[in-house]
Symmetry: C2
Subunit: 521 residues, 2 copies
């Protein structure tokens, strides 16, 4: 063994805080000694079921203490986690299990009903373990009974470049890819986040974002460093989160901007005591200044930090620390950025030939460092295309200012090149969104003999509202440069979205580009 | 390239703080842009002199900005640092250069006079570069002229398990050993120290401890994460340090306890403004409560953190955070400890059979994690003896309390086994030290047919003072258990000490043990 190992934080927790509270969930409480014992027993169970070094174990579940135990028990047994995206269709889940040959799947009460269908679709799935509170369904093993009978085993001590997890991502780009992350990948990113002070000692941590996703995973791994208590909501609801914050005196949580927005705009917010909150980490997208202002008021004692990254970067690449989430910070113009390269990441912006572009120029955001994934499972060509000369090419378009702050402007592939000018779909969508009749929109490039690509908008109107294509275009011309405005507008009932809620622009572009290659990668 | 790389902090510094002050030394000032440019040029110089991947480069110098440039230029060129212990004899220095085949040595004005002797003794030494302010001596290359002519090169991007440094240690145990540390070893330890908040953003860092040693090295690497300005004293003197703290408004420094003692006991202390100091990291030995109290008064705005470790652990294994350096912390009894395992270290205490001992029981302190050295240069047997099953055996005897705090009591090999009881020489020496006539003492085990080993004290009296062996023994009996008290006392003019100031107990034991094996490892 050499290098980082993810179980180290658990060893420290047991050594330094054995009698302290580890998890409280659905009426259950475990100290770190108990948590460690359960992990070592559950690892024995997995070992008994054939989990040897590097073997994948899946979990399909709402948030709970058992989800946290699953991560550490799998690593303790020497296995590799494959947390299932619970928003995916059965076909997508079966694909992700089969792709990396996951034979063992743990399900809770909420997902036990999905098992029959999964068994029919998946070739790899062999053993299903039920970790719910109800009776163990026919054909599944009951986790609690197995844990009670098991004899704890020693930590398998996988470490360094050993595979720790396969995280499936990329529903938006057609087919899911298994991102392979090592112990060093995940543990170095977690330590960097501790150094950025996004988690604090003497905290009570809430897991409100889905635990299969590395956004919450980043907070989970960093939080383990201090071995403070964690509480859970099965899934995010504004009232559920406000209630647990008040009841458990929660001090820190990772929340995505839409969750923050739902919380701060909820009519019952003033009824709850949120004064315990001291730290909110958010990511995945930039937060609007209005929501941020309301969030600062809603959590008066909390520091907000933003992270930008992706699963392939384990996941954080940049952090915007708390200081910039202030009126002073807003004035400095940094709050719209995703922050600067973390302690373990180097970031640069490159052109299509991988040359670094001057500060302020938009290009593709690239990152290198110990967080860069090992690669995509079974996809060496995709891996080679994504990681070039050690640099992970994020597919995000952005620019860097003189102080190293990174501003994300679009997905590279959603960027439209029209008449030699780059048009960022996000900027156009922001302009369209300000029209009072518009509910949602997606802006794409479509083929144009004259311009190469032409800016095309797909618009969903608010119920009962009306607007013409000409009105939308005229509205945009009051806000952004002419060449950025849509040349054509199409109205639609709804936008096609992925399980994770991202608009599937590939689907929207498809009918326009049949038989043609887009110039943009 | 994969994993951690030590130059990353420099890339970030150049990207995020290019126009900010990097170093101020002897009237010279460099921004991070200038520092980065000098490093890339100096790397070109080293490359031109034959430094390819993994090649060692030595430096023998007082503290200066050029020492910092040396570290980063060597890594930028792909080389391996071999910083020379400036307290060693020419024979020891030549041994350390030859042992790991260091052909290139950089010397400053203070050590240019040692070169002729070194050249005569060393087979490996080929090229000497002079980095002083005076004229370049005959037969040496002038660094500044070479840098001025050089064309900056790209970072060689060595990383992960690649060798980054060979640090010679162990003068006290007979012959120096070259501790091989990788990029991951050093960078992971540095990041962990950032996470422990021993360094802070918006700081002015002072290098007062010798820069060849990893104690200062730990502060250096952690401090680079924030890329704040660094100032230097060529070598520690109480007045020199007080003057630069006042003049530069220094906020943080690593100091060893003897330095702290000299500072707080200096008669001129009240004349200086030390209010800028916000963080003091100390290590290498425990500080007495009296000195700590005076230190808290001398640096009223500073938080004190203690680190315990060794070069073989890159170097920190445990940290005692600032909180325990308070009257409240003293009451909790933790201040006498070296703290708890850091974020990247696991610590345990084992018996001679490598079994973990119960809390409170003294055994050998062991540590594992990404900081554990690659091994000793060219000494596979010693490496195998030191690192067993991934655990570095420190050779330090200590115990752990229920909360995971580690208390160091002695070197294992200095522990005396008398009549089946373990006697810790440090405890006996502390008792002897309280006799008013005693200046210094060293307690060793000597052969005894009746007891296996018998406790023997070598005592140096203060000038003009007198005491008999019987008096010393009687004095000890008032303080410690009878079996721990010396059975024999020998008076001496002085104790044999190593270049680093450690008492050479091996030398003291030698005459007693000729032809016999000690039972203690």
């Amino acid at each position: 063994m050499s290098g980082f190992y993810l179980t180290q934080a658990l060893h420290r927790a047991i050594q330094q805080r054995s009698g302290h509270l580890a998890t409280r969930c659905a009426g259950r409480e475990h100290t770190w000694a108990q948590f460690g014992d359960r992990v070592a027993r559950m690892a024995a169970v997995l070992r008994g079921l054939g989990v040897s070094a590097g073997e994948r174990v899946g979990m399909m579940s709402m948030n709970s203490d058992r989800y946290l135990e699953y991560y550490y028990a799998t690593w303790w047994a020497g296995g590799v986690v494959n947390p299932v995206n619970i928003r995916w269709s059965p076909a997508e889940v079966a694909y992700s299990l089969d792709d990396c040959d996951t034979a063992i799947l743990i399900v809770d009460d909420a997902f036990q009903g999905a098992v029959a269908d999964l068994r029919a679709r998946s070739k790899a799935l062999r053993t299903v373990i039920h970790c719910g509170d109800g009776a163990t369904p026919e054909g599944m093993l009951g986790l609690e009974a197995l844990i009670a009978e098991a004899t704890p085993i020693d930590d398998a001590m996988r470490s360094g470049d050993d595979l720790a997890g396969v995280f499936y991502t990329g529903g938006t780009t057609g087919f899911p890819k298994g991102v392979m992350l090592s112990h060093t990948n995940l543990a170095s990113n977690a330590l960097s986040n501790v150094a950025e002070q996004i988690v604090m000692p003497d905290s009570v941590t809430l897991f409100a974002a889905p635990m299969f996703h590395l956004a919450n995973g980043a907070a989970m791994l960093a939080g383990m460093s201090f071995a403070t208590p964690t509480v859970f909501v099965p899934a995010f609801t504004p009232v559920g989160v406000l209630e647990i914050i008040q009841a458990e005196r929660v001090t820190q949580a990772l929340l995505v901007p839409t969750m923050i927005q739902m919380l701060v705009d909820h009519p019952d917010l003033p009824k709850y005591d949120t004064s315990s909150m001291r730290s909110v980490l958010y990511g995945a997208s930039v937060i609007s200044e209005g929501v941020m202002r309301r969030a600062l008021a809603a959590f008066p004692n909390a520091r907000f930090s933003q992270a930008y990254g992706m699963t392939e970067l384990s996941p954080c690449a940049t952090i915007l620390p708390a200081w910039y989430h202030t009126p002073e910070g807003q004035k400095a113009g940094k709050m719209r950025s995703g922050g600067r390269a973390t302690f373990t990441t180097e970031v640069r912006i490159v052109d299509a030939e991988d040359r670094e572009v001057p500060r302020g120029t938009v290009g593709e955001i690239c990152a290198r460092g110990p967080g860069v994934m090992l690669g995509y499972w079974n996809k060496p060509e995709l891996t080679k295309a994504a990681i070039r000369d050690g640099w992970m090419h994020t597919g995000d378009a952005g620019y860097m200012d003189e102080d190293g702050f990174v501003f994300v402007v679009d997905r590279v592939k959603d960027m439209i090149v029209s008449g030699g000018e780059n048009v960022y779909s996000a900027e156009v969508e922001n302009a369209i969104a300000q029209h009072p009749a518009v509910g949602a929109s997606a802006v794409i490039g479509i083929p144009s003999e004259q311009w190469g690509e032409s800016v095309h908008a797909v618009v969903v109107l608010k119920p009962g509202q009306q607007a013409s294509a000409e009105e939308i275009i005229a509205h945009c011309k009051t806000l952004i440069a002419g060449y950025k405005c849509p040349r054509s507008v199409e109205f639609s009932e709804a936008l096609p979205v992925s399980g994770a809620g991202k608009v599937l622009k590939t689907k929207l572009r498809e009918p326009f580009w049949q038989g043609q290659e887009r110039g943009v990668a």
